[in-house]
Symmetry: C2
Subunit: 213 residues, 2 copies
């Protein structure tokens, strides 16, 4: 398999989500033009993206929804089963734990961790909230691969370093700071407010356009 | 001001966040090379991006942090003050309400809405949770510009349509469905799991690379 560019990888989850919907609706095939209209990506970009990992499309037929869905899922590593822990059982940790979509995509939540005595021992979405002191013993026994960080900024880097020594391979980071990946760990930094700022730009822009016309 | 491409706009919040940090640290100027190392964007891409809205950089000096921060904030519409409401006061709504960064960037939370009688009337981060039935009267009186949707999929499209008639200009959508923007409204669809899928791909990829070498 040839190396797929980072930009293509970024677009794959969108293709995957949309194909999941089509599959659920029983749609058998779709053309790049239809995909294009829905996803607001040009048809030629779509063909180029999907050609990156072997052409699934056939001239005059389009793409087979089930096959393409499966192939993209494979590239995204969704056929693997990953054990996931959430560190920080506050509102955001709760919200993420309750999102059913993760389990469907192969991410199985196995534990949550916090330091707040009021919530340690409580059950959230079928898992128990443990004290962070139990992290090491838990990771050695259960070997989770993915950790979700919903901690505050100051606590995040030290926890990330620790997780790296405990065999965690991926960190999904919501701590509002850009975490530098410890050796052997992949970090995906989520900055929720980035898309709010983009939204704000578009509103401001629309206002200017109105004033000018 | 010439039209700035969508891809450049998508990168601006990252520049903005990093410049905020530099400003807080008292750093006066920064070169495109230093920005590049930190942001993992090539220096030539950075120069090209920032040239889009008038060159701020000077050869041999770099960028003035305060000026560039302010200029990008202006383009992102952060100098405006927006009134924001959150619809859906569950865990995710709570988490977003508690994120202090929004207020600092000009987004002022003025109300939250829900249908759950247990939480209506409670106070979250200085605002009261109101019943969705009060949405219309509230919007007419307070004229919020931005609505954050943390509802479940089925409820989202109808609420979005309603918000459009009530003067809402931007919808920040966390309902796990791709909302089509009603006329006159800008929608920013957030799909949290997209970055988890990207993370999963990188872990899988790293595994393949290890096996092959």
């Amino acid at each position: 398999m040839k190396k797929i560019s980072k930009m293509v990888i970024r677009r794959l989850p969108r293709y995957y989500r949309y194909l999941s919907d089509l599959k659920a609706e029983g749609v058998e095939r779709i053309s790049s033009t239809e995909l294009s209209q829905r996803l607001k990506i040009t048809a030629s970009q779509i063909r180029q993206d999907l050609n990156c990992f072997g052409g699934f499309g056939q001239q005059g037929y389009g793409y087979n929804v089930v096959q393409l869905h499966e192939a993209i899922g494979e590239i995204l590593g969704l056929s693997a089963q990953y054990k996931m822990i959430i560190i920080g059982a506050g509102n955001l940790g709760h919200a993420l734990a309750n999102y059913a979509g993760f389990a469907r995509r192969g991410f199985r939540l196995v534990a949550m961790f916090d330091v707040n005595p009021d919530i340690i021992g409580t059950r959230i979405h079928d898992v128990t909230v443990l004290h962070v002191d139990e992290l090491e013993a838990f990771c050695k026994a259960e070997k989770p691969e993915i950790a979700v960080l919903t901690l505050t900024k100051p606590a995040a880097p030290a926890i990330a370093e620790k997780l790296a020594t405990l065999g965690i391979r991926g960190i999904w980071n919501f701590s509002y700071m850009e975490l530098v990946a410890p050796p052997g760990v992949v970090v995906e930094n989520v900055h929720l407010s980035d898309s709010l700022m983009t939204l704000s730009h578009h509103i401001t822009d629309a206002t200017y356009e109105k004033k000018e016309s």
